[in-house]
């Protein structure tokens, strides 16, 4: 793996919204065209900055959902937090042609490139799927042969982000396996799991520890911590578990 890369200091710049797409009732994808975008690696994020009329700033981080191969466009996916300051603006009020202030790409740790190998084990809670989707899209776009398993926890079927695309990618590939768990309502006849991620579920879905999987866990802080603890107990080496915490759970 590379060490700290010399990238230069980050500066704020403006991107233009060129497309938006509703993913679920609460989640929306926003595609930006950013002049002089240097390209990104799957797993990185951008910081967005909103400025109010009186000059007050609010900054938030959003993972990049698109594959590096989609350059020069960058797509983020935002889940609306009802009481939030920034996310409702992004999901409900932002339109094509609007400008957004951002800096990035950011981060070097929670990153996967096809050259890093695998097998890959990805564990997502809610909007924690976003950076992992960039990895899955990168894997597909680069034609990588790294075997990948995704375990994705959502509240309900309707809240699964990228559900159709994940199904399509998994059907068309021998390398990608997708397993869902729903923590609240599940439809009758639901074939996936219907509970929070726990040690038994991970034992069934995760690669055996002796395959030395490379693991990425992303989602609400308590979800990430519980999952990492279960995997350590299954004998997963901590140096091959990478975590990214998005904050409180909804």
């Amino acid at each position: 793996m590379e060490g700290a890369e010399v990238l230069g200091r980050l500066n704020w710049q403006f991107g233009e919204v060129v497309a938006t797409q509703r993913e679920t009732d609460r989640a929306k994808s926003i595609t930006l065209s950013v002049p002089d975008w240097s390209g990104h690696r799957a797993g990185q994020h951008v910081d967005l900055r909103l400025t109010s009329e009186d000059g007050y700033h609010a900054e938030r981080s959003y993972s990049i959902a698109s594959a590096p191969e989609d350059r020069p466009r960058v797509t983020i996916t935002v889940e609306r937090i009802e009481t939030g300051e920034v996310s409702p603006y992004l999901t409900d009020e932002l339109h094509e042609g609007d400008k957004l202030e951002l800096r990035g790409p950011i981060g070097g740790y929670f990153v996967w490139e096809a050259s890093m190998g695998g097998p890959l084990f990805l564990v997502a809670g809610g909007s924690g799927i976003v950076p992992l989707m960039a990895m899955i899209r990168h894997q597909a776009a680069s034609g990588s042969s790294v075997p990948t398993r995704l375990l994705y926890s959502s509240r309900s079927l309707a809240e699964i982000i990228y559900r159709d695309e994940l199904e399509r990618l998994a059907q068309g590939s021998k390398r990608l396996e997708v397993r869902h768990t729903l923590t609240r309502e599940a439809p009758t006849g639901w074939a996936g799991y219907h509970r929070r991620v726990d040690a038994d579920m991970l034992r069934e879905v995760a690669w055996p520890a002796d395959k030395h999987p490379l693991t990425y866990i992303c989602g609400p802080t308590p979800f990430v911590e519980a999952t990492a603890t279960f995997l350590a107990a299954l004998g997963y080496a901590s140096q091959r578990i990478k975590t990214e915490r998005f904050g409180p759970s909804g």
Binding site: G3, A4, D47, S61, R103, G108, F110, R245, P248
Partner: protein, 87 residues
């Protein structure tokens, strides 16, 4: 506990100060001597600033405070920052 994040969340703020991607830098705690990647530290962020804490003993390693037209960087909780690669 309220808004507990990790070092990934502080990456942008740090890279706006240091000319590197900082989350793969190893930081040694001045209190307990434990060393961790910045990505794996505990971070709290608010409009006021950012606090990077030791995941072993909770000591404040790095504090960045934002005020009007200036930022304050307090590194005294970090004994060593180890950068890998050629700088």
């Amino acid at each position: 506990m309220e808004n507990q994040l990790d070092g990934n969340a502080s990456a942008g703020t740090l890279q706006a100060i240091f000319p590197f991607e900082m989350t793969e830098v190893t930081v040694t705690c001045a209190n307990c001597d434990d060393s961790n990647l910045i990505a794996e530290t505990v971070v709290y962020m608010s409009g006021m600033g950012t606090i990077v804490r030791c995941p072993s003993c909770d000591h404040a390693l790095i504090r960045i405070a934002h005020a009007k037209h200036r930022s304050l960087l307090d590194l005294h909780g970090a004994r060593v920052l180890q950068f890998n690669g050629d700088h």
